[in-house]
Point group: C2
Chain length 380, copies 2
């Protein structure tokens, strides 16, 4: 028996399975893409949030990482990372923590307003790298790419502050998450890069700097495009595990998804051809994707196998989740096959819609090699 | 200065605020509704998941509670509760834990299939109460209310097992969450009760029992209806805090919502009249409601006040959340008012769409009296 199958008897509640070999292949592939294009690879660790998984990146000479909170930066600093960008707008209420961290590691911060630059200049006692976050019209955070005066003002104030070392312009072009083809990703990325180049030009003109970099972050562009254009740094995160959203975009194949949640079957309902799973919003999150039918899906299901999980059952998907329940709807032609392999008390693998949120909820992994990996106990 | 305002300087990351006085009023009101109707009040503790909040229910002579997992039952057993229903289909992989718990407390279990009854009969060594879960066409878990043969078979097998004490039929009529008026809730409840009465009749006929009870759980019906009909037991949970979903249904008023997340403002974008908040899917969950405009809303925002939070800003709502970011959209006429009271670095209160999921994510409360309350460290 494989170490994994030996452990499945001990799985009694929803458990996040991690295919370590696949995750390492995903890391290797992305590191190779970055190297081939001469782009700095600064992976985002918010997806896995685990020191042990972070170590796998060192095999590919990764020394610089991205995180999404000050507490996550603290956690990875404690596991030896010395060059960390917090890819979230500076939270002015955390300046004391930020300053303490900047004393220990090379810390990168994001800002998008001159008032924030001024506060950093006034209060930080240790040097930090700063990036001007650009809104390329994803409309989350960032200074609008076309607002040259705003950008020039922010850049000048950064340059004037001795503690702040302006590195360049940075964005998260989440627009690619709406793409459903390589061509669509390519077009969105081209628009993003035109805007990032314009934003860099505005900041370069204001500061007379010719070394400002461009940093991007979205997994679809990083995973799919062989020519990222004038990108200097990439910060993808999701690719380490991938998920159904990335599969729907075309950024990965189903077999490249490296995590799944083993869920006990707690109900089988032949009349409505549905299953109830122990596995709900507190395990998977409420993130959904939209199927071709227009229905929301909260995951798909796959059989557990000797070595992990198999191909998803066709015609079956998680149609709803509440706090602890998941309800799987099965198409008529698929029902006999699902019924033949699953009964109440069995385990089934749920491939997550959004692996970052699922990992954040479950807090630990069971690898297919039978190892437990704990995630950060990050205070919220 | 109030104890709360003294503490706000120490709020540096998203923090779940709890208006203890309002939560106690919500408990008192629901306990009174149950007493007036002569219905057993067995509140669901999955919403708050905190031993300290559970203690507040004892002032209203609550001795029986509901939880949604075996681990949550274990947690509340450890804080002294002795009559606990796990309102989730029995997970056959947890029978050893269930049996151990049944040795210590009066434990209620839900089942909907004869195969499950047989397994309980074969493996439990301690007595338990059992409820036949009924699907009144909410289609989550439960035996279909109209399937008399199925119900009779389950009931007979429960009666035949010496460890199993059949208490009655139980449902969660989540259909009321789609209602938007008292009349709609009343109609849905009437349908639910007709089906529950039929289901009870089928089990009573098969077992020759005349004492089988009916237990219901949805907060909207429990909060709104003065006559629940032939209900014997109610298990609402959400009402302790309420949230925007309940407000939209009409089950509570905005002022009865007892929790809000204090979120730092990290971006102000006048051109698009939006704010970026430190407060995203890992704090609030991705649960959304649909506004009259058809847009999804992940929360609304309100100013912090001397004693807590005020009325929500009209014309502003959280239009999107990603892992750590929330984006607030503000209507043109409301923008000057929002801008005048909020700047980068300030705190704003976010009223949650679904308080159960928000509490589950944040794991602790700060009361408006300045106390910290920790939630269960429930293993997942």
């Amino acid at each position: 028996m494989s170490p994994f199958i030996q452990r499945t008897d001990q799985i009694i509640t929803p458990t996040l399975l991690l295919d370590e070999e696949q995750a390492r292949r995903n890391i290797a592939a992305m590191a190779r893409r970055a190297a081939e294009q001469g782009v700095i690879f600064r992976p985002h660790f918010k997806t896995h949030q685990a020191a042990a998984v972070g170590e796998w990146f060192r095999d590919y000479d990764v020394t610089a990482i991205t995180v999404s909170s000050v507490s996550m930066a603290r956690y990875f600093a404690q596991s030896g990372w010395r060059d960390i960008t917090i890819a979230f707008p500076v939270n002015l209420r955390e300046l004391a923590e930020i300053d303490a961290l900047a004393a220990e590691v090379r810390l990168g911060l994001l800002l998008d307003a001159s008032a924030v630059a001024d506060r950093l200049a006034a209060e930080l006692t240790h040097p930090v790298d700063v990036w001007i976050e650009i809104d390329t019209e994803y409309r989350r955070s960032g200074a609008l790419w076309s607002d040259k005066e705003w950008l020039a003002d922010v850049a000048v104030r950064c340059e004037a502050a001795p503690q702040l070392s302006l590195r360049g312009v940075l964005c998260h072009a989440g627009n690619t998450y709406g793409a459903r083809s390589l061509d669509a990703v390519r077009q969105i990325h081209a628009t993003t890069m035109a805007r990032m180049t314009a934003a860099r030009a505005a900041t370069a003109a204001a500061t007379r700097r010719d070394d400002l970099q461009i940093s991007i972050g979205d997994t679809p562009a990083c995973a799919l495009l062989d020519d990222l254009g004038s990108v200097d740094e990439m910060r993808p995160g999701n690719f380490v595990f991938y998920d159904l959203v990335q599969e729907q975009i075309g950024a990965c194949r189903m077999g490249e998804i490296a995590v799944a949640v083993a869920c006990p079957v707690v109900g089988v309902y032949p009349r409505r051809r549905e299953l109830a799973l122990y596995g709900g919003a507190v395990h998977l999150s409420k993130d959904a994707l939209t199927l071709d039918s227009g229905q929301p899906s909260f995951g798909c299901i796959a059989p557990l196998t000797e070595s992990g999980w198999g191909e998803p059952f066709p015609g079956a998907y998680l149609r709803s989740v509440s706090q602890e329940h998941g309800v799987v709807s099965v198409a008529e032609e698929a029902w006999p096959g699902v019924c033949a392999s699953l009964a109440v008390g069995d385990l089934v693998a749920v491939l997550p819609v959004h692996s970052c949120l699922t990992a954040n909820l479950l807090k630990r992994y069971l690898t297919l090699g039978g190892q437990n990996i704990e995630m950060a106990a990050i205070p919220r």
